[in-house]
């Protein structure tokens, strides 16, 4: 089947088998290998991507064909050029990662969280991230990282002129069609 998806602001048209899971489509058809797969039971959250700008979903529990006509944000779409997204900065500053395998999923889940709750409590963060497993960090520094990012984003939002996009907005405007 031919599908059209907009990933990190770029439109892609690709042929895919209906049974191809979105995670594998992103990794193999688009070469976006930041999205990982760590289980078969929708348990680990390594594959979380953001659907249509706001919903964190497990891309191993969704078929690529379901994403036809939708927009996907992956970890590769977080940074604006050389400027890290506040969440990426937070994870780096607060040592919110070790092996890095769960990190993209954590980032994307946290990204969706901060869209709906700009100042989440520690409990709210732990709750929101409870569909993402991490074997290395014990989560504590991940929580710290998300709180730091939230603070950075609130500060940026309060200083940003109204016309400017908030720091959390994914790259959107021009939609070049990828080859």
């Amino acid at each position: 089947m031919k599908i059209t998806v907009t990933v990190n602001g770029t439109r892609y048209e690709r042929e895919t088998e209906p049974r191809t899971l979105l995670a594998y489509f992103l990794r193999e058809a688009l070469g976006l290998t930041g999205t990982h797969v760590g289980c078969d039971s929708s348990s680990c959250g390594c594959c979380v991507v953001v659907l249509d700008g706001s919903r964190a979903v497990k891309s191993c529990t969704m078929f690529a064909v379901q994403a036809d006509g939708h927009a996907i944000t992956t970890v590769e779409g977080l940074a604006q050029g050389a400027t890290l997204h506040p969440l990426q900065q937070g994870f780096w500053d607060a040592h919110g990662l070790q092996c890095g395998y769960c990190t993209p999923g954590m980032l994307m889940t946290a990204y969706a969280l901060l869209q709906r709750d700009p100042d989440p409590s520690e409990h709210a963060i732990r709750e929101a991230l409870s569909g993402n497993l991490c074997r290395c960090t014990g989560y504590q520094n991940i929580v710290k990282a998300v709180r730091q990012a939230a603070a950075m984003m609130r500060t940026a939002a309060s200083h940003a002129p109204a016309s400017e996009a908030p720091a959390s907005a994914p790259a959107s405007a021009p939609e070049p069609v990828a080859p």
Binding site: T35, C39, F91, H95, Y101, L133, N141
Partner: protein, 785 residues
């Protein structure tokens, strides 16, 4: 302190600094390169067919339906591998071997039976379903105590027709028995340390790429020990070692799981050799949990004898170990039960004895060191539970009992009754710090009040010592290869450098900490020291990263290689400063003329000169390699305190507080050390409360996925408190001891001790891990609570 030289653009005190990790930018931007991210031209995919039976004869394998499927290139069975001499491979233990693909019979459920190679993963999995295998079921032996009877002997390939693998003992049996017999007080308890699995989030995988034109086999492996794997592959296949190139890319967690060689690695290699194209194998979570290295599975019985004042007299621990179908425990050759001899722990036992018998059962093989230095976790659990049981029996505060029996600071180096020389420690100071920090006296008061109200609150202590850093070549080898490690440092003309080591980070942050060690020795900017590991073509030979050995062994090699570089640099500095070498001293990260500190050159200046202005007659360039053979093991330790509340109605345990005070000697990067402790505590928490690999009586694996093998989420995981003391290792070049495993080694006993303390008013003394709601509830109910 004043200096006339210009302030460098970086902090030269690289050691002990919470430097942000150099590897992180790629991981936070999705630009890591893990095994499954690698795609090679014409690459095929391998899927493996597994046995549903735990013990069965293979009557017939019919490949025809699988081969008929469009896109299927080959189907390999054990018989096919046998033709290449690859049906069996040696385990790391050397004295046992294991099947790659089953030949004749299967010995555990999910054992690999056939491999299907196809043009896509999906087709490979489609075809794997079509491989018809006819089995004739045999009676499974699931319980090691049943295996001990030899009523059914599992391994007909072995000369000795018995399920008994080995007997191991250390210490003085008679003296220990006598001391126990004459003790005023004795405790004896059976403790089962359950079978667990490290379950790193990235599963294991391999890409084998045989280039027929060059005759070279490149193996991308999720390997914690790439050099050892290269040697094993060479020995097994007969391919010369220079024709094998092992690359271990970014690894998504290892925890010991990625030390052994797995069937998928061998089958993909064999397939690539046969087919001449790259073959990728990435296991499913089910394959990871059912076939790759498990850990623990020790049935221990601990006995302690003491005087009535609490002074310990003797320790005896007897263990039955369940090793599964093959003895694939990755222990050093002379230590079949690893470093279990640390079982006397932090206590000054006059005499001790421990013995262990290992058995085959119809379960997956393994026995790997899961975030643990070779069975240290089991040993620490035994002694720390034992001491608590003794405290209970003596009606003595468990902290006081520990203090009474600790090896004292002035006793180091301390020869333990089971043969180790503890290098250093100050157990009293560390425990006291923990007790003060957490407010132990207040907690005991609160507990007394709660008990009066019928509430179940518990405080648990664990004051473990580890033994890590395997190890001195006199004692330690794996398959004959001595357990040294290595480093190579090349300083470039402009004062940046490349550092290569025989280790392989899986999240530990070597790219940062290795650079910090080298930077602190060389006065260079750690940001400009790139660290490379995992490529056997470029890195010096080393035994890899596991068992908390990287910092004690490779970390030392890095410091020593850097010092070699520095010695060479001193000659160049003397040339630049126009003085004799003897007049040049290394001070404040700079070469200075003795007595004239204003006359100095930096390492950058020396590096430039090494290539542009070498000393006449001297060797140009600035690099060194060091192979470090540690003189002793290191002994990191800690004092942990857990505070729990138990819900009487449901058996739910709430870990209210947990404090870990660790002493790992010199700290390279406190941020990374804290991260390692958080992670290790979380795995210890998981083991104490939920993680277990279970088999039912018929040999069915009950936890083959993450819905049944329970990994705690951010919501269950407690908030950790940490602290530290510092007792540097006297024999390590920078005094470091290793820390990654301490929290996983030390914490399970703290959790269990806390829960048993909570349940003490009900007379409950022990529940085996994991302490699930139901087990705690059953115990409370059984006690009439």
């Amino acid at each position: 302190m004043s200096t006339t030289t210009e302030q460098p653009a970086f902090d030269r005190r690289a050691l002990g600094v919470a430097m942000k990790r150099k590897e992180d930018p790629r991981f936070i931007q999705g630009r890591g390169r893990y095994l499954d991210d690698i795609v090679l031209p014409r690459m095929l995919h391998l899927a493996i067919v597994h046995s549903p039976y735990p013990h069965a004869k293979i009557v017939r394998i019919d490949k025809s339906a699988a081969l008929a499927l469009d896109g299927v290139v080959a189907v390999l069975t054990g018989e096919d591998l046998a033709a290449h001499g690859l049906a069996w491979i040696p385990t790391f233990h050397g004295y046992d071997k294991q099947m790659v693909l089953a030949v004749g019979k299967v010995l555990y459920q999910y054992q690999e039976v056939a491999g299907v190679i196809a043009t896509s993963r999906e087709i490979a999995h489609d075809a794997a379903e079509l491989v018809e295998v006819e089995y004739e079921p045999l009676e499974p032996v699931v319980d090691p105590f049943e295996a001990r009877t030899d009523r059914v002997v599992l391994r007909d390939d072995r000369e000795h027709k018995t399920n008994h693998i080995y007997h191991w003992e250390v210490g003085q049996r008679e003296a220990t028995d006598a001391a126990l017999a004459s003790s005023d007080v004795r405790i004896k308890e059976k403790l089962y340390f359950q079978r667990c699995h490290p379950a790193p989030l990235e599963p294991c995988g391999a890409i084998a790429d045989m280039n027929a034109a060059t005759g070279r086999l490149t193996l991308y492996l999720t390997s914690q020990a790439p050099h050892a794997h290269r040697t094993v592959v060479s020995l097994v296949t007969g391919i010369p070692e220079d024709k094998i190139h092992v690359v271990s890319p970014d690894i998504g967690g290892g925890f010991g799981n990625k030390v052994p060689v797995y069937a998928g690695y061998v089958v993909s290699a064999a397939a690539s050799v046969v087919l001449g194209v790259p073959v990728k194998w990435v296991e499913t979570r089910t394959e990871n949990l059912t076939t790759t290295g498990f850990a623990r599975d020790y049935h221990m019985e601990v006995e302690i004898g003491a005087r009535s004042d609490g002074t310990v007299n003797a320790l005896k621990v007897t263990t039955v170990a369940d090793h599964g179908a093959f003895d694939a425990a990755a222990d050093p050759t002379k230590y079949p039960a690893g470093l279990f001899g640390i079982v006397t722990g932090a206590y000054d036992f006059p005499v001790a004895f421990t013995e262990l018998d290992a058995y085959f059962t119809n379960k997956a093989p393994g026995g790997i060191a899961y975030r643990c230095s070779f069975r240290v976790t089991e040993a620490s659990y035994a002694i720390e539970r034992g001491i608590d049981l003794l405290a209970r029996k003596l009606h003595m505060d468990p902290a006081k009992l520990r203090c009474k029996n600790f090896v004292r600071k002035e006793q180091f180096p301390y020869p333990s009754p089971l043969g180790f020389i503890y290098d250093s420690g100050d157990y009293h100071t560390t425990l006291n710090k923990a007790l003060e920090t957490i407010g132990y006296e207040d907690l005991r008061r609160e507990q007394a009040e709660k008990r009066a109200r019928g509430e179940l609150m518990g405080i648990g202590i664990s004051t473990f010592t580890e033994v890590v850093g395997a190890g001195p070549s006199k004692h330690f080898d794996i398959m004959g290869i001595k357990m040294f490690d290595s480093a190579e440092i090349r300083v470039h003309p402009t004062g940046s450098a490349i550092l290569r080591a025989g280790t392989k980070s899986q999240g530990q942050g070597h790219e940062t900490t290795w650079a910090q060690i080298a930077a602190s020795e060389l006065g260079l900017d750690p940001q400009n020291i790139i660290v490379e590991e995992g490529d056997t073509d470029t890195a010096p030979y080393g035994l890899g990263t596991y068992a908390s050995r990287s910092t004690p062994v490779a970390g030392a090699a890095i410091a020593m290689a850097a010092r070699r570089v520095r010695e060479k640099a001193r000659g160049i500095a003397a040339h630049l400063l126009e003085v004799s070498e003897a007049d040049v001293e290394w001070k404040d990260y700079t070469f200075r003329v003795r007595g004239i500190p204003d006359r100095s050159v930096t390492m950058q200046e020396v590096a430039f000169a090494a290539y542009t202005n070498p000393a006449p007659g001297g060797e140009p360039g600035l690099e060194a390699t060091y192979y470090y053979d540690p003189p002793n093991l290191t002994f990191p330790y800690g004092a942990y305190v857990a505070v729990v509340d138990v819900d009487r109605e449901t058996g739910f345990v709430k870990v209210r507080r947990f404090l870990a005070v660790d002493d790992c000697g010199t700290v390279i990067n406190p941020m990374i050390v804290e991260g390692q402790i958080h992670g290790g505590l979380t795995e210890g928490f998981a083991i104490a409360f939920m993680q277990e690999i279970r088999y039912d009586a018929s040999g069915n694996h009950l936890n083959p996925n993450f819905t049944e093998y329970l990994v705690p989420t951010s919501l269950e995981t407690p908030r950790w408190e940490t602290g530290s003391t510092c007792t540097p290792s006297p024999h390590h070049p920078i005094g470091a001891k290793g820390v990654g495993e301490s929290p996983n080694v030390g914490s399970p006993a703290a959790f269990v001790n806390a829960v048993m303390d909570a349940l003490a008013p009900l007379g409950i003394t022990h529940i085996d891990m994991p302490l699930t709601r139901e087990k705690v509830w059953q115990a409370i109910r059984g006690a009439g609570g």
